[in-house]
Each structure stands twice: as structure tokens, then as C-alpha cells.
Assembly symmetry: C2
Homo-oligomer: 225 residues x 2
DNA sequence: CGATCAATTGAGCCGTCTCAATTTGGGTGG
DNA sequence: CCACCCAAATTGAGACGGCTCAATTGATCG
């Protein structure tokens, strides 16, 4: 089950056992602190065991762009494998725990276990797709569609973790949502108010209660056309 | 040299020789036609030998989002490795030629040549970063900054291929640039006119002549702050 | 040499941002 | 336990950037 969370490979049970070696080490990250910073040496990628993290780029002028909110079972750090140097910050939005997947160990293990590298390729490809989806959202959706799509995405991922798709707590601020979606915090706040007014959802601070999933879907544009 | 273009691994010469096997097959793609479509089975990734391609997502409602313009030496198709099904279209912007890197062959070869998978990981990580950069552009830059950054990026990549960083031909239409940057074609056109008026560059149809690289840099926001 | 598509340019509108004022909630120390 | 303080969120008014719609010019190609 640990393996399931740390490195969801979807492989045979005995193979999974061999992986336990790979992911022995764990790290606790208190809310607000960083798992890694831009410029740090990349020696591992990380699988989230519990909690929520954000990853963000920061350019020379200090401008920040959040590129992802990561939930348990998801992997982060794969953007640092170009020069084995992290190009982003990973910061915990709540007290979190990750397991460490050392690249070196993985290379060693995959010598005797080719499926491992294929699985890792799949995870990296997934990350590429995740980012492309965000590009699509930023490039061609309007603000209300972006927020709707964002909420649906969160709902879906939380649901896959066994939580309710209808009620959940946002671990990020309005400002962080806005940054991620290319909007201002005020716009995000206004949209929440409007969605609430229109009966799509209830929101009290960071507690979301989705009332009309289908309406959100058709609003997001994900829903055919 | 073929290898250099097709699969720029940066590895020892004798190792490179072994790779030639991997990339024997080539495909010509006439301008306007597709290397692969959304839904196609992914059996290979492709290295561009000559020409230019674009990759674009298409959602259920037919909405299109261009996620990249690819030049010689660059790899495409890595977003299709999640379920071995392509999730995007790859279309040639001019007559192009790519070499085929079969995943199966690569797995086989990397059994005896571990550096190969590490290199491939590096290429996938690069693609993740490319996409994150685009997210940053879409999420936090204004139209003029996006276009400036786009031109600088193109200039830089063409320069690395041995072409002039100052004069080049855009292989894509205003509409395609606009789609990529989350702008309308009119906005792109107006920006070109304005940049030209302000002496940053000359533009005649798709021929670009950059006159003031430094001004473009400071405009793009890439240039410290 | 028309026909067609790409690009330019203008006018007006709309969505989102900016700036500013309140309100709300959570945490801390008296 | 309450009062206070600070950060987060809400809401409003006005400005502005980029979009839409439309007309025109300029390439490219049978």
C-alpha cells in the first residue's frame, strides 16, 4: 500500500516488493516549507504520500508561476532531470510527507527490471500532458472556464483518492489559484461568488461543495460542444 | 551527423555508431500533412531532420491549442507514452523529414546501453520544461512580452542550428503564432507592426529581421529586472 | 489574371486588471 | 476568554488591454 501511494506502477505484486527498496526513505515537509528549491541538485524525484504541494517557476525578475498542485500518489521533480538541477521550487501547502526515489537507485534497479523504466517514462509523459492541458486552459479558455475546469480536475483527482468529488477543502489560497490559472486573486474570488450565486456550488472560505457538477462541466467546455 | 540531428545524445563516437541502427527509418512529411494524429498508436518518437512541425491538442469541441513549434534536432511524440496513444496532432509547416525512433527498439538497445535511457529521460524532462516555460508565458506575460519572448526563443534555437539569430523566416502564420501564445491573429499582427514602428525589428510577411535584440530582451522580461 | 488566402488596420466593446475599501477568520498574547 | 492583529477574502469603481467584427490591402497560385 505504501508502494501504491509512493510509486503507483500497476505491476505484479512480487515486482512491487522489489520496489520497496527503492522508496525506503521518506521526508516530512511542514506546511510552507520547501522540498526543494530552484538550483538544488536533483538526485531524486518524489512521490507524495500525504499532503499537497505546489511547484513554481521563478524567473530572473522574481516573477513566479505556479505550474502544478500535487496530491498524494503524484510525482514531482521530473523537470529537474535535464541537468540534474531543479528548475522549480516545490513547497508544501500543508504538512506533507513524500517518499524519495533516488535516480541512481532507479537506474540500478531498472537494469534488472526493464518495466521500471517504461513505467517511469509513462509518468514523465503524463507530466508533459498535464502541462499541455494547462497550456490549453491558459491559451484558449476564459476565466470562468478555467476555474470550472480547475475545480473539476481537483474533484476528479480527489475522487480517485477515495474522497468525495463533491466536497473538499482547497489547500491553496485565491492568490495561488489565480497565479496558476493566469488570473488575479480578485477575479478568482469574484468567480467563486458568482458560481455560488448561480447555484453551481457553495463556498465558505476554502471549503467547496459542488452542487451542479454537470453545469460546471458544460461551463468548462470540456463537455463536448 | 545524421545521429547528431536525429538523436542528439552528446555521447562517445563509438556509442553513437550503435545508435545508427535505432534511427535507420525516415519519413518525409509534405507541408500541411500530419506525422501523426490524435488517437494514433504511439510506437515511436520522432527526431526532426529537416523542416518545421507544430504539435496541437484538440479537445472534444474541436478547440485547438498549439503546444509547440519544433525545429531540426528536436524530438516530438513524447506526450504519447502514457497509454501508447498519441494525444496530439503533429503537422508539418513545411516539407520536412523526421527519423523514427521505435520505442521497442530503444528499450531493447538500452538493455545493453544504460546511458540511452538516461538521455531519453533528459529529453523528456526538457519537454516538460519547455511546456512549463510556455505556461509561464501564458500565465504571467502580457501580449507584447509573449511575442518578444517567442521571437527570442526562435532566434536562439535557429542560432544553435547555425542560422543567423537576426534574420529568419517564420514558418507559421499569424494565426498559429496567436493560437500558440493565447492571442488573436490581429493582436499578433498589430504587435509586429508596432515592433517595426518602434525600430525593434523589420518584418515583411514572414521574414523577420531583428534590429534591436537587447530591446526585445528587456521587453520580454527575460532580462533580469 | 482572377481567385483565394494571409495579413493589416480601424472602431467599438467586453472581460479582466488595478486600486481601494471592507469584511471575515484565525492565531496570539494579555 | 476576550481583545487584538494580521492575513485572506470579498466587493466595488474605473481603467485598459486584447477581442470582435469589418473593411482593405497584399501575396500566392492555379
Amino acid at each position: 500500500m505504501l508502494s501504491e501511494l509512493c510509486f503507483p506502477l500497476g505491476m505484479a505484486r512480487n515486482d512491487v516488493a522489489r520496489l520497496d527498496e527503492l522508496i525506503r526513505e521518506r521526508i516530512r515537509i511542514p506546511k510552507g516549507s520547501a522540498l526543494f528549491h530552484l538550483g538544488d541538485k536533483t538526485e531524486a524525484v518524489y512521490g507524495i504520500r500525504s499532503g499537497t504541494l505546489k511547484t513554481q517557476l521563478e524567473d530572473a525578475s522574481g516573477q513566479v508561476q505556479i505550474t502544478g498542485f500535487l496530491l498524494p500518489g503524484e510525482i514531482l521533480g521530473m523537470d529537474g532531470l535535464v541537468n540534474n538541477t531543479h528548475v522549480s521550487h516545490a513547497i508544501a501547502l500543508e504538512d506533507s510527507e513524500v517518499c524519495v526515489i533516488r535516480i541512481e537507485d532507479m537506474d540500478q534497479l531498472s537494469l534488472h527490471f526493464p518495466a521500471l523504466q517504461q513505467q517511469f517514462r509513462r509518468l514523465m509523459s503524463k507530466e508533459i500532458n498535464r502541462s499541455h492541458q494547462l497550456v490549453m486552459s491558459l491559451g484558449s479558455l476564459r476565466s470562468e472556464q478555467r476555474l470550472a475546469a480547475f475545480l473539476l480536475n481537483l474533484s476528479h483527482r480527489l475522487s480517485a483518492l477515495g474522497y468525495s468529488p463533491y466536497e473538499f477543502v482547497l489547500r491553496m489560497s485565491r492568490e495561488e489559484i489565480g497565479n496558476y490559472l493566469g488570473l488575479t486573486l480578485e477575479t478568482v474570488s469574484r468567480l467563486f461568488s458568482r458560481f455560488s450565486r448561480e447555484g453551481l456550488l457553495q463556498i465558505r472560505q476554502r471549503e467547496v461543495h459542488i452542487l451542479d457538477m454537470q453545469a460546471l462541466r458544460s461551463l468548462s467546455g470540456t463537455d463536448c460542444g
